[in-house]
Amino acid sequence: MKNGLIYLLLGFALVCSSACVEEQDFDQLEDLQVTPTIEASILYIESPESVINLATGISFYANTFNFDAFNETFFADKVLDGVVIYEVENTTSKELDITVEFLDEAGNALDIEQFSVNPAPTALLRTEIAYGPGGRSLDIIRNTSAIRVSATNLGDNTSVSNLPDPKIILRSSGRFRIELVQ
């Protein structure tokens, strides 16, 4: 009995005293990167052909929009690269020019994108502009606080497309990789 007791105690002591921790490398945390890619729509503009026909000059629409999504500190400090996608759909009878400008706070144009679209029937015009390494400067995105859009009618002011509900539509979205942890 005494021997059994001694063995039990020794076993218990051995287990407890032999507890060990294999060496861990916590410096690996410095290599950890968390870089999610987020995407969302940016701007949608739609104008029926009747509005284009009402305009007296060739420019039927021009406006500057406040747009603070890009220069929010959280986004501007962490964005790594990204793509802005434009899609233009023209079902009017007119040839149109659309210009999209990214402006800084002082109203200076940082980036300009121009789309020339033929009268209907025309294919959907889709353009992807890359920012960051291999593309345009990321500073354009970081410093954009407004977007100016202007549209020019290169056709007449009377014709109407045979297609139902003729319109010019500009769609756009952004897809950006941000660095949450490094």
Partner: protein, 486 residues
């Protein structure tokens, strides 16, 4: 801000390392007075006992049912990004958790009624922390991968589920032997909450789809709430650079611990019943109680539904107001549809995590005299009382269940206890639960005259590499026990 982050991280780490799901070794270990705290109806052999203040009951345990420290930080040459991606972000499910409770005995004592020796009273104060955080699976994936290339995928907001508290407990219990077979007990408790947080009823989702007008639509449907008490004042101290936050926090915690916090009431009940002379069933229900939070209370809520397709300009309507700020209008619209409320005055009630214990025990082999004759020679009796510990061996099973936000969690234990003379008792356990199926524990109780010392270690197989263990723990304590005169 850095101090606040440090405090929150320290709290998370504390709950991460101080992790007690179950005290299966201590349960029904009748030689140890602290076992009364987990079954007030335990058979009590003592005349009186007094715990050494702050040393009578200390338990520390570590655990996780998902990944271990070793899984991520092992020096194995594998890129940590790969390990985090495969083992954490995409390796864990929303039912995986980091949870636990801990108790630290500050004061613990008990005595037998001289006039009614069937009554044994116990009292004390202990500090208890309880917290649970489930792995927010969808939110982790959203944060790690983003919403790109996830058209139509609903990121479930209900995966965010957490609650926790730090509370000081004042208790007084009565243990009564009703007859030779049945012992019952009850313990009343007053809770003095130091802080509490709860976010367990979240619902909703975030999804990205093809837009109706624009290229994409982002939809948020949210019904989320976080309730806290006691955290704002802590936050203020940590933010105040003009004071030394350490002593200020200690003073605040002390005041709240001594009935200056949000108060509550609770009760424990338990019993031991002898089916026959050698077979005993026991059970206990702990922490049936609540805390009413009226001080330093905050309620944060996000509730509503919104779909966004970017800034939308539709002519000719947009021409009516040339000075319109479409961006700000969009922001205002979303804030109106999904309002973020931060209410500092809403009182609330929190319920303690109820724990259930049940066991069956079979005792065998009576102590012998040196000449090998049966004897009633256990010294742990007082007066004419019979000793409830009159066999050398016990074997049995134990069931533990705790109420958690995603439903009850159970653990099943088989145990064997062996007593060696009057001084030593050993108990070995095997436990299966959601955290590990290889949990072997060992407990030792030493009685040297009136000095009682116990030490217990859990999941001993995990001690080969603690960093790779899902569960490791130890408990120890020091008491003075009087068994009364024979």
């Amino acid at each position: 801000m850095r101090k606040r982050i440090f405090f929150i991280m320290a709290m998370l780490l504390w709950y991460g390392i101080v992790y007690t799901q179950n005290k299966q070794i201590l349960y029904d270990f009748r030689e140890i007075p602290q076992a009364l705290l987990i079954n007030p109806g335990m058979e009590t052999p003592y005349a009186w006992y007094g715990g050494i203040p702050a040393l009578s009951g200390i338990s520390l345990q570590t655990g996780t049912n998902g990944i271990t420290v070793h899984d991520i930080f092992a020096d194995d040459g594998v890129d940590i990004n790969l390990k985090v991606r495969e083992r954490a972000v995409f390796g864990l499910g929303f039912r995986d958790e980091l949870s636990g409770t801990f108790q630290l005995d500050i004061l613990n004592g008990g005595f037998r009624d001289r006039n009614r020796p069937e009554n044994f009273y116990s009292f004390g104060i202990y500090l208890e922390g309880d917290a649970i955080g489930y792995w927010p699976q969808d939110l982790a994936i959203l944060g790690y991968e983003g919403n790109a290339d996830a058209l139509g995928r609903r990121f479930n907001l209900s995966h965010l589920k957490t609650k926790g508290e730090l509370v000081n407990v004042f208790h007084f219990g009565l243990n009564k032997k009703l007859n030779r077979n049945l012992t019952v007990g009850a313990r009343g408790k007053v809770y003095s909450s130091i802080f509490n947080f709860s976010s367990t009823r979240n619902k909703g989702y975030f999804v990205t789809n093809e837009g109706q007008n624009n290229l994409l639509s982002n939809t948020l449907v949210a019904d989320m709430e976080l309730r806290t008490s006691g955290l704002d004042e802590i936050d203020d101290i940590l933010d105040d650079d003009s004071i030394d936050s350490g002593p200020a926090l200690a003073s605040l915690f002390r005041r709240r611990a001594l009935l200056g916090g949000n108060l509550g009431l609770g009760v424990d009940v338990g019993f031991s019943y002898k089916l026959n002379r050698q077979t005993v069933v026991t059970g206990s229900l702990l922490d049936v109680g609540f805390i009413y939070h009226t001080k330093d209370v905050r309620r944060i809520r996000l509730q509503g539904e919104a779909t966004v397709e970017g800034v939308e300009v539709i002519l000719p309507d947009a021409l009516l107001d040339p000075s319109a700020d479409f961006w700000q209008d969009l922001v205002d619209e979303v804030e109106a549809l999904v309002p973020f409320e931060d209410n500092v005055s809403k009182n609330y009630i929190s319920f303690r995590p109820i724990k259930l214990n049940g066991s069956i025990r079979y005792d065998f082999e009576e102590p012998k005299t040196p000449r090998g004759e049966d004897c009633k020679c256990d010294y742990r009796v007082s007066g004419n009382r019979e000793s409830p510990i009159d066999y050398l061996n016990s074997v049995g099973g134990h069931l533990y269940v705790i109420q958690r936000p995603r439903g009850p969690q159970a653990a099943l234990t088989a145990f064997y206890q062996r007593r060696f003379g009057r001084a030593l008792s050993l108990k070995a356990t095997y436990t299966a639960d959601k955290f590990t199926l290889t949990n072997v524990g060992l407990g030792m109780n030493l009685q040297a005259g009136p000095i009682n010392f116990y030490f217990m270690a859990d999941n001993l197989l995990g001690y080969r590499n603690l960093a790779d263990s899902h569960y490791a723990s130890f408990q120890l304590g020091l008491n003075i026990i009087s068994w009364g005169s024979k």
